[in-house]
Each structure stands twice: as structure tokens, then as C-alpha cells.
């Protein structure tokens, strides 16, 4: 049920339990920004009336930039040492007392020192008052919570700013500047009260966060040293902020200069109008700006970011100002300056601010946090100073009204270029953050296996796998890559390795020599391979001597020949081999069979065919692989038959793949044959994936769209493998339909999961588990498909990040995929990736709308019964039986003739109960 509160909170995605705290903080921002706009109007109207613009205004800008830095640094030190709520409360008290003092002690006649002091005080007030709110918000909310609730605070601030400005516009002349100051004092008292309420309702969280933040600050000094930008990306952000601040200040001063001209008598810089009149005008303009800003924030920022991305959002402000500055240069009029000020004020605090905040996301971390404060403290103020200096210089030139827009054109052009570069850098940074996390994982694995101590420990291990890994590392080629040992031993080789005679034997040699006597022939062969690599002359001679005799050689030499030697036919002849067959056990015969296959000598065919019938599975596997190497059509059907046996299916896959392109057509025929065994069909993609040809890839595409889930998933896996090994790229359009199919599957099973969520019986429980598994498979399938056409690694690393527990990385992954996808597919997939962030029900609702899925329990079950795989169908029938849903009996009858035995059995079982 949704009440009025829910309706109010929905646009900001604020949850009910967060409503109280979030509401108080939104009220804080409302009142704080209301105070800020009022004080801003007072600040400028007093200064313009008492002092005027001339050179003094830019100078006071420079002074406020200089003064703000130490004050804000001091404030940061206090905030690190003491409770943030306490510091905020004391700061409010300080502002209250000083404003009372200013009100009481204001000189009767305008004094320059007082005007300067009030201007500086106002600058600090306007900077710190909203900052206090943000510091408290960071204490109360995590990043993800912040992403949801900060929009509400921002909106509170914008509405507060607009209200304060409107109030000033309406009542400045009636209340007078003194009245506005008293009103601000009253609001400061209310703000104290709100702070107390926030503290009361979140006492525990403040204690936790306060302790955490103070601990993390300890010893970090002011943090400026750590804030140095470590990358070109951060430097570009800094540059954009610097130029934007300079532009804003110059626009502000230009506008005030025009205002001074408008309200002053010709040739006089002191205002003739009253301060209240100026405050009214300023308040009106601020109000309009805040209203526009609010409208843009609500209506444009989100859609702009979602539809056109961060780059477009970053470009909007400089582009608008560039055009505006061009117009101002031509017109050199007050209205153009007002327009520029309004555009800057409204776009900067909405679109530009949000886009800049997003830029930090891929680089989030302590260094970036420190850099951000550096930006706020130093870069922004430096930009302000630069703007003021530009203004001072422009005033010295003959026509300031044209020079200022000209400078603005230059500055905004620079900002535009920076925005374009940052947009590109943002995407690369998202990729970079994911790649770094991927590299960290890989490094961990490599360090664990390449470490010499681990290798030595592996060498002494009784574990066969560890032994082989160690020996492969010693031989210098880890993994499955197998280099060929050159057979002939000639003078050249002797010369090459003669230096070996003078070398000390390596420390591991004795261990490896003893391993050549290992009972497992393949472990012994791996050890022998290491020895051949170390000393080819000695050990190749030993091998030749062992194989030259008619008597049975040691198994280590045969296993070496089978696994590591490129052309075994140069060392063994059929009569020898056939003679040895009589004297070795089945395991040895399997080794001989594989050697026979590698020689491709037809003399071995009778014995290989005979071994296909052996009771020993290993010998059968050896014979299957050997026969495959001959690629003769007469063996095709025999080898296909071995695909259904779990003990021989891997060997059969290898054997059938040896047929190359001629296998592709046969496999497609099998796939289309309605009589063919489903277990054979399910093996077809795995065979196709082993064939390295374009026709095999075309056949895989057919398998990808095959209705059987196992066939299509295996085809997808094979596509991933071929892309990884061949560095192929596929077109996006080929895979969009299949992506939509996976998305539909996801929403369908998620829909089932939702109806099963709170049910406790065995049937519901099994259905829930099956649906949950299928949702996660659909997600895997989606990412596997994305990996086929997105830049290599993007989808894979994003998948790892989304499955992982690092929130920041997960956000980056979602952001990267969002930027890469377009249109309908983006609309369908994004709720799936962000299902942890959005409400599950909302994601399901999106899926229901997109794919016209039902929502009531019987309808969802009926839908699942027709569109799900066999096991889910069975779970659904069990639920129907258990719940006695007679209205679904027809659906159960429909699947009772299924080819799947489990479905048939379950349907009969369910129907018995429903009929009775």
C-alpha cells in the first residue's frame, strides 16, 4: 500500500525508514540555502551601495578567496578532531553572534572597512553553511544511500535558495536590509534546533561514523600533500573546475559591473539607488536562477545523463556560455550579462555539478577524496582569483563591455575542450578501474604459482597436479602450451649445449630424476621432459636407446612420446608397437593407442577398433582419440555413439573435432535430426567449439538460438572461447535478439521467484531455489553474450565486479555497461545488473512491462509451465499439485506428453492428485 508519504518520497527513491532523518536534513538544506541567498543579496547590495564596483570589487573577491582557504582549513581540522554535529553547532553559534555584532555595530555612515569585513564574512557564511549539512550527511549515509537521498537534499537546497531569493525580492524594500539580517538570525536559531533533532534521532550512527572518520583522519595532517592529482584524468578535472570557477567569477563581476552602471549616475561609481532596491533586484534574479536550476535538476539532468551520458552533460554549460559570451560580445548590453549570469547560475548547480560528481566515481578512494577537498579549497578559490584578475585587467582596457565577453569566449572554449577530454577519460577510467581489479586477481594467482618456494614445495608434494605444475614451471612453459622437442641430435646441438658441461647441476635435478620413477607414467613423463629441456643430448640419447630395442620400454618413455614428442613415427615402427601391445596393461595400451593415433599409420587400425570394445574406459578413450585422428568417414557414427557415455564423451569430442570442416555439416544434420538423442545434441556445440574454422562458428550461431537451454548455453561458451583464443570480434546486431531472449528468461524466472518468495513448503522451496539459480545463469549468459561484441574484457570484468562484494567496483561496472549499451537492450538489461541497488519489485515490474509477463500467482505459474526448462516445469507442477490449483490442470496435461522422462513422470503424479 502506498500512502501520501510514499508518493512524496518515490521521486527521490527515499525509503520509509529513512524518511525522518532525510526529511530533517532536507529541511536543513532548505533553510540554509534560504539564508545563503538572503545573505548573498545583502552582501552585494551593501557592497555595491557603499563601495561600488570599480577595482574594489575584484579586490574583495581576491581577498575572500585568500581568507576562505585558512578558514576552511581550520574548519577541517576542527571537524577531524571533534564531533561534526558539535562543530556545526558551534559554527552556527559563531555566525549568529557575529551577525548580531554586525547588526548592532554597523556604522551610521558607510565605512570601507565595514563593507569589506561584511563581504568577507558573507563569503565564509555562504561557503560553510551548506558544507555543514554535507558533512553531517556523509556521516549518516553510505555512498549508495547517498546516491538515493542526496537528490532530496539537493532539491531541498534549490527550493530553499529559490524561496530565500523570492522572499528577499518581495520583502527587501519593506523589511529593509536590517530586517533581512534579523530574519536570518531567526533562521539560524531554527537551524540549531534541526541540528539537535538530527543528532537525537541518529545518535548511534554519529558515534560510529564519528569514531571511524576521526580514526581515518588521524595523522593525515591537512591532507593537501596526498591530494596531488595522480593521473591526467584528475588533473583534467582540476583544470575544468579551475576554468569554470574563473568563468563564473568573471560572469558574476561582469554582471555586477553592468548592474553598477545601470543603478549609478553616469561617471559615479557609488550607487544612487538604495541598498534595498539593489537587494530586491538581486533577490529576484537569484530566485529566477534557482527556479530554473530546480526545474533543470528535476526535468533535465537525469534524462540527459541517462540518454546522452556524462560527456554531453559536461559539455552543456561551456557550450551555452560560449554561445552566450559570443552574443554578449556583439550586444555589449546589460541583458546579455544577466542572461549569462542566469545560464551559469542555473546550469552550474544542476547539470554541471551532478556530472562533475559522477566523474569522481571511477576514481573513488582516499586519494580522490583528498583531491576533492583540494579542489574545493584551493582550485575553486584560485579560479575565483583568476576570474577577478581577468576582470581587473579588462577594466584597464578601453571597452570593458566587449573585452570581458571576449575573455569569456576564450575561457569557455578551453572549458569545452576539457569537458570533451573528460568525457572520453571517464569511460577509460571506468574500464581502468575494472581492469585494475582484474589484474590484482591475476597477480595473486601468478604470485602463488610462480613463487620459487611454492614450486619447490610442489616438487616435494605427493599431489600429482602440484607435481606437474612445478615441473611445467621448471620446464619454462606453464599451462597447456607444449613445445616440441627437436629430435635430431647433431653437431650444432652439441656445440650449443657444450657449455652445459661446465655448469653446476641445478639444485632440483636430483628431485626431478627421482620423479622419473614415479608410478604415474604422466608424472614421470613430465619429469623426463624437464630433464630433456635441461640436457637434451643425454636424455634424448636415453630415449632413443630405450625405444630402439624390441623389448618393452619403460612407461615413462612411452608417456613422454605420447605427450611431449612431436613426431613419434620417427622413433617407433608399427611391428615394435604391435609387439609391445601384448605385454602392457590396459593403462599402457591406452598410451600406445594415443601414440598410434599421432602416427596416423593405418597398420594400427585393426587393433584400435578392437580396443574400442574394451571394458577398460581409459583404453577405450585412447582408442577413440586415436581413431579420430584418422578422420575417416566410416568411423564417424561409431565415434558419435561414444558422446552419450560420460566416461568417453570428452575423448569423443576431441576425436570428432579432428574431422574439421567435414564434421560441421554432419553435426548440423545431427542437430536438426528430430530422432537424434538429446544427449548427443547437447555435445554438438562442444565439438564445434574445438574446430577452428568460420563454418564451425556459423554453425555455433545456429546452436546459440537452439531452443534447448544446454545446447544454446554451450554454444555461447564456445563463442567466448573462440573469441578469447582467436581475438575475433562479432557484430552487436547478431547477438541482440539472443540478449533479449536471456533478458526475458531472467525476468520470467525472477517473476517465479517473487511468487515463491515467502512460501515454505517443499515444492515452493525447490521452485524458489531453481528460479534463483536460473536468474544467476541468465545473468552469466547475458555477460557472456556482451563479451562477444563489447571491447574485450569489458563484460567479463564487469561481471566479476557485479558478482563481487566491492560496492564501488560494482557501481563502476554498471556505469560502464550503461555507457556501452543503447536503446531497448539497455532498458531491458540495466535493471538486472542493478538489482541489488534498486528495489527488486521495481526491477520485476520493469520486466513485466517490457515482456508482458503476468503478475498473479496462477498466471505466473501457467506462464512458467509453458516457457521454462524441464526441472522448473516439474517444480511448478509440484506446486500446482500441492496448492490444488485445478484451474492449471489443463497446462499440466499439455506437458504430460513431454519427451523428458522427469516431466512426464511429474505430470502424471500431479494429474493423479488433481483428478482426485
Amino acid at each position: 500500500m502506498s500512502g501520501p508519504l510514499d508518493v512524496l518520497l518515490r521521486p527521490f527513491a527515499v525509503r520509509r525508514e529513512e524518511a525522518a532523518s532525510a526529511g530533517l536534513l532536507a529541511a536543513y538544506f532548505f533553510l540554509a540555502m534560504s539564508c545563503v541567498t538572503t545573505i548573498k543579496a545583502l552582501q552585494f547590495s551593501s557592497f555595491l551601495k557603499d563601495v561600488g564596483v570599480g577595482w574594489k570589487l575584484p579586490v574583495v573577491y581576491l581577498m575572500s578567496a585568500v581568507v576562505c582557504v585558512p578558514i576552511v582549513l581550520l574548519f577541517r581540522v576542527l571537524a577531524r578532531r571533534y564531533s561534526h554535529v558539535g562543530v556545526a553547532s558551534v559554527t552556527l553559534l559563531f555566525f549568529f553572534v557575529t551577525l548580531v555584532a554586525a547588526h548592532v555595530g554597523r556604522p551610521a555612515t558607510p565605512r570601507l572597512w565595514f563593507s569589506f569585513a561584511f563581504f568577507l564574512w558573507s563569503s565564509i557564511f555562504c561557503l560553510l553553511l551548506p558544507t555543514l549539512g554535507w558533512i553531517i550527511s556523509y556521516d549518516l549515509y553510505t555512498t549508495r544511500e547517498g546516491k538515493r537521498v542526496f537528490g532530496l537534499f539537493g532539491m531541498g537546497g534549490i527550493v530553499g535558495g529559490a524561496s530565500g531569493a523570492f522572499w528577499t525580492y518581495l520583502f527587501a524594500e519593506r523589511l529593509g536590509n536590517a530586517g533581512l539580517a534579523i530574519q536570518t538570525l531567526f533562521l539560524l536559531i531554527v537551524l540549531q534546533g534541526i541540528l539537535a533533532l538530527i543528532y537525537q534521532s541518529n545518535r548511534t550512527r554519529f558515534t560510529l561514523h564519528g569514531a571511524k572518520s576521526q580514526a581515518s583522519y588521524r595523522g593525515s595532517g591537512l591532507g593537501l600533500r596526498a591530494a596531488r592529482p595522480g593521473s591526467a584524468y584528475l588533473r583534467n578535472i582540476g583544470s575544468l573546475v579551475l576554468v569554470s570557477a574563473a568563468v563564473s567569477t568573471l560572469i558574476d563581476l561582469q554582471y555586477l559591473w553592468f548592474l553598477d552602471q545601470r543603478f549609478s549616475a553616469p561617471g559615479v561609481t557609488v550607487l544612487r539607488s538604495s541598498a534595498e532596491e539593489v537587494a530586491t533586484f538581486l533577490g529576484g534574479l537569484l530566485a529566477v536562477m534557482y527556479v530554473i536550476s530546480g526545474v533543470i535538476q528535476v526535468s533535465t539532468t537525469g534524462p540527459l545523463l541517462r540518454r546522452f551520458g556524462v560527456q554531453a552533460a559536461l559539455i552543456l554549460l561551456p557550450l551555452t556560455l560560449l554561445v552566450g559570451a559570443g552574443v554578449a560580445f556583439v550586444a555589449a548590453a546589460f541583458w546579455a550579462a544577466v542572461g549569462l549570469r542566469a545560464a551559469d547560475g542555473s546550469l552550474k548547480s544542476s547539470v554541471q555539478r551532478t556530472a562533475l560528481e559522477i566523474l569522481y566515481v571511477p576514481q573513488a578512494g582516499p586519494r580522490t577524496a583528498s583531491f576533492r577537498s583540494f579542489i574545493d579549497l584551493v582550485v575553486n578559490r584560485t579560479g575565483d582569483s583568476a576570474g577577478a584578475v581577468f576582470f581587473l585587467l579588462a577594466l584597464q582596457l578601453p571597452s570593458p563591455a566587449r573585452v570581458m565577453p571576449l575573455v569569456l569566449v576564450g575561457l569557455t572554449a578551453v572549458a569545452l575542450l576539457l569537458a570533451v577530454r573528460l568525457g572520453k577519460g571517464y569511460l577509460e577510467n571506468l574500464r581502468g578501474s575494472l581492469q585494475r581489479s582484474g589484474l590484482e586477481r591475476r597477480q595473486d594467482l601468478q604470485e602463488a604459482s610462480v613463487n620459487p618456494e611454492t614450486t619447490l614445495a610442489n616438487l616435494q608434494s605427493s599431489d600429482r597436479l602440484r607435481l606437474r605444475l612445478a615441473m611445467e614451471q621448471l620446464a619454462g612453459h606453464p599451462g597447456a602450451q607444449r613445445e616440441t622437442v627437436v629430435a635430431p641430435i647433431g653437431e650444432e646441438m652439441l656445440e650449443t649445449h657444450i657449455s652445459g658441461l661446465y655448469r653446476r647441476p641445478p639444485s632440483w635435478l636430483d628431485s626431478v630424476v627421482s620423479l622419473t620413477r614415479h608410478p604415474d607414467p604422466h608424472t614421470a613423463a613430465a619429469a623426463f621432459h624437464v630433464l630433456v629441456r635441461e640436457d637434451p643430448v643425454t636424455y634424448m640419447r636415453e630415449l632413443r636407446q630405450a625405444l630402439a630395442s624390441d623389448s618393452l620400454p619403460q612407461m615413462v618413455h612411452l608417456a613422454y612420446l605420447e605427450t611431449y614428442f612431436d613426431r613419434p613415427e620417427t622413433l617407433v615402427r608399427p611391428p615394435q608397437m604391435l609387439g609391445w601391445c601384448q605385454h602392457v596393461p590396459p593403462a599402457g595400451q591406452a598410451i600406445l593407442a594415443r601414440i598410434m593415433g599421432r602416427t596416423q599409420d593405418r597398420a594400427y587400425l585393426p587393433v584400435l577398433r578392437q580396443w574400442l570394445l574394451s571394458d577398460d574406459a581409459e583404453l577405450r578413450r585412447g582408442a577413440i582419440e586415436a581413431l579420430g585422428r584418422f578422420a575417416e568417414p566410416r568411423f564417424w557414427n561409431i565415434l558419435v555413439g561414444f558422446l552419450v557415455d560420460s566416461k568417453t564423451r570428452q575423448a569423443a569430442r576431441r576425436a570428432l573435432a579432428c574431422y574439421g570442416d567435414q564434421a560441421v555439416e554432419n553435426l548440423l544434420n545431427l542437430l536438426h535430426d528430430p530422432e537424434a538423442d538429446i544427449r548427443v545434441k547437447q555435445e554438438i556445440p562442444l565439438v564445434l567449439g574445438r574446430i577452428k574454422s568460420s563454418s564451425a562458428r556459423s554453425a555455433l550461431l545456429i546452436a546459440l538460438y537452439w531452443p534447448d537451454a544446454v545446447v544454446s548455453f554451450r554454444a555461447l561458451k564456445m563463442f567466448n572461447k573462440t573469441r578469447a583464443s582467436h581475438d575475433l570480434s562479432y557484430s552487436e546486431a547478431s547477438f541482440l535478439p539472443v540478449l533479449m531472449q536471456w533478458a526475458r528468461q531472467y525476468y520470467q524466472t525472477a517473476n517465479l521467484f517473487t511468487v515463491a518468495r515467502r512460501k515454505q513448503s517443499a515444492a515452493w522451496k525447490l521452485l524458489r531455489k531453481a528460479a534463483e539459480e536460473r536468474c544467476s545463469w541468465s545473468v552469466e549468459k547475458i555477460f557472456r553474450t556482451l563479451e562477444l561484441f563489447l571491447p574485450r574484457g569489458d563484460a567479463y570484468l564487469s561481471y566479476l565486479a557485479i558478482q563481487g562484494d566491492r560496492k564501488q567496483l560494482r557501481d563502476n561496472a554498471i556505469e560502464l555497461i550503461e555507457l556501452r549499451l543503447k536503446g531497448e537492450i539497455k532498458q531491458a538489461l540495466l535493471p538486472i545488473f542493478a538489482v541489488n541497488e534498486t528495489r527488486e519489485d521495481e526491477a520485476i515490474a520493469i520486466g513485466r512491462d517490457l515482456f508482458a509477463l503476468p503478475s498473479g500467482t496462477p498466471e505466473v505459474l501457467r506462464d512458467g509451465l509453458f516457457f521454462s526448462d524441464s526441472l522448473v516445469q516439474c517444480c511448478i507442477m509440484a506446486v500446482i499439485r500441492e496448492e490444488g490449483l485445478v484451474q492449471l490442470k489443463e497446462g499440466v496435461e499439455h506437458v504430460a506428453d513431454s519427451a523428458h522422462p522427469l516431466v512426464r513422470e511429474t505430470a502424471r503424479w500431479a494429474l493423479q492428485s488433481l483428478s482426485s
Partner: protein, 131 residues
Amino acid sequence: MLTTIEKIFLLQDIDLFARTSTDHLASLAAVAEEKILKEGQTLFQAGDPADTLYALVDGRMRLDDEAAPQEVQKSVLDVWSCLARKPHRYTASSLGNCRLLCISAEELLEVLGSEPDLAVALLQQLASEKT
């Protein structure tokens, strides 16, 4: 006699299969056979060959070994002996009527051989129980 889907329902409540996917449960259920024991009947004696995996899905059983005897319910009996193909380490007898699902060690190993993910899920669960 239980249908395959009913056997899956029963297997999903056994701790050893907590990490096993529903499809793998179906593979196990397909080769599992039902066995009913009356009160006081002995299922196996210590030293008997462990050639079958017994999942106690309903009722309670008493396990007697050299240490203190213990009662169990909803669990797999002497899984290590079955996987290692060694004799049973204890005697198992029923305390009241019991229902068991039995999978021959040979068939279990064949299923594990063809479904490596199932083997990993079982190993993970066994490891978590050991720790």
C-alpha cells in the same frame, strides 16, 4: 513408491546437499532408491563395505562407534567411507521407522565424474562441515 520429484524434495533438506544445484539434485534423485527401516533394524555394521551412500530423509538413527553413540536425523551416513570405498566406521540402526534414499557408490562416483560442479559443491559442503 516415491517419484523422482519427491526424492528431490527430500534431498534438498539434507545438509550435505545444501550447496547442490537443483539440476544436480535431480541427477542424484534419478539414481536414488528408497529404503524403509523398521524400529531397531540395523542398516550396516562397523566394518561392512561402504558400497552405498545412505541419506536419512525421515526418522532418527543411532550411530555406534568406539566413542559415544549419537543420534542423527536428516543427514548422510558415513559419507567419507563411501567416497573412499573403505569399510564403515560405525554401526547404524534405526530408532523408530526410518526412510532412507540410497545411491550405490559406483553410481554416485559416475554422477560425480560426469558433473564436476556437483563434486565441487559436495566438497565445499563437506569442507565447511569439517571446519
